[in-house]
């Protein structure tokens, strides 16, 4: 294991406006500069140094504790003012470096704050039970002509045809859901569905979407209820999460 350096650093969670409401937040410090406020916390460098981070990230307990801390700070900040979430693990060695970052990115942060002010992010996941979907697609099993070999081949061909149909229908359902939900949102992102080994569910994730909506706007939820009713027969279930800080709409993504 590589020796971690001693000392502390400044972990930046997010950037908001110079809003006095931010000073109510507990457990964090604020670095103000040119109308912007960085929400920061002093952290031991030993925890976050580049040399030790890859190892830490694969430590579930560490990852969970720190990811939750990151989210908790952003939620508390987003509850009182508009905030641009920064990605996990953005760390500076001094307050001056944070100030310089605010100077350099002032225009970009300003533009993003303008977009997210008064809005929240909500997440929608759609899950599909493939067996239910297959039943809705099932045509009759036509009687097979010819001998045993021919019957086997026909069965194989039908199976392949069936799995192509399932894939096409899944793509259609996901596309329809995302497009209908997007029409009720200011901005929308379809993220990669989470892998089934990690979700631990027997259904597959069809859609992993994030939508930016005006605070208190109920239209997306109503659209979702409509979709849930229409798609239930095809084996699709929907799940709504949020409101989240606008992680997916924080500007430049990589």
């Amino acid at each position: 294991m590589i020796e971690a350096p001693a000392g502390t650093a400044w972990y930046v969670y997010g950037v908001g406006e110079d809003d006095p409401a931010l000073s109510r937040l507990a457990g964090v410090e604020l670095i103000r500069r040119g109308g912007l406020t960085a929400v920061v916390r002093e952290v031991p460098l030993a925890e976050f140094d580049e040399a030790v981070l890859p190892e830490r990230l694969n430590d579930r307990e560490w990852l969970e504790r720190n990811a939750r801390a990151h989210e908790d700070v952003l939620q508390a900040a987003a509850a009182v003012t508009a905030v641009v979430p920064l990605r996990f693990g953005t760390i500076y060695r001094s307050r001056e470096h944070v100030e310089r970052m605010l100077d350099e990115r002032a225009e970009e942060f300003g533009a993003t704050l303008d977009q997210v002010r008064g809005h929240v992010e909500v997440g929608v996941k759609a899950w599909i039970d493939l067996r239910t979907l297959e039943r809705t697609l099932a045509g009759g099993d036509e009687p097979t002509a010819g001998g045993e070999g021919a019957a086997y081949l026909q069965r194989r061909q039908r199976e392949q045809q069936r799995s192509r149909e399932v894939a096409v229908r899944c793509a259609e359902l996901a596309e329809e859901a995302h497009s209908r939900l997007s029409s009720q949102a200011v901005a929308a992102v379809a993220n990669r569905p989470q892998p089934r080994e990690l979700t631990g569910r027997s259904e597959s994730m069809l859609l992993n979407g994030a939508y930016l909506i005006r605070e208190g706007d109920d239209r997306l939820r109503r659209e979702l209820e409509h979709l849930a009713a229409v798609h239930a027969a095809a084996g699709v279930e929907y799940e709504l999460t949020g409101p989240w800080p606008p992680h997916n709409f924080a500007g430049e993504q990589r």
Partner: protein
């Protein structure tokens, strides 16, 4: 038709996976003195997968 709903304010109900998806994979990227190079969340997924697999094994062993 009801829609399952989870509010992140109830921290324990937000899965680690949802957190990783947002906190590590999203948010604006600015170059810090130390910037976590989670350019691809797959790296974290790989780690999680191993951890979950080993946790499941431990549980099975404990139960058996």
């Amino acid at each position: 038709m009801s829609v399952a709903e989870r509010r992140p304010a109830l921290a324990e109900q937000v899965t680690l996976l949802d957190l990783v998806d947002r906190v590590l994979n999203k948010g604006v990227v600015v170059t810090g003195d130390i910037t976590l190079a989670v350019a691809d969340v797959d790296l974290v997924y790989v780690g999680l997968r191993l951890l979950l697999a080993s946790a499941a094994t431990l549980e099975r062993e404990a139960a058996g």
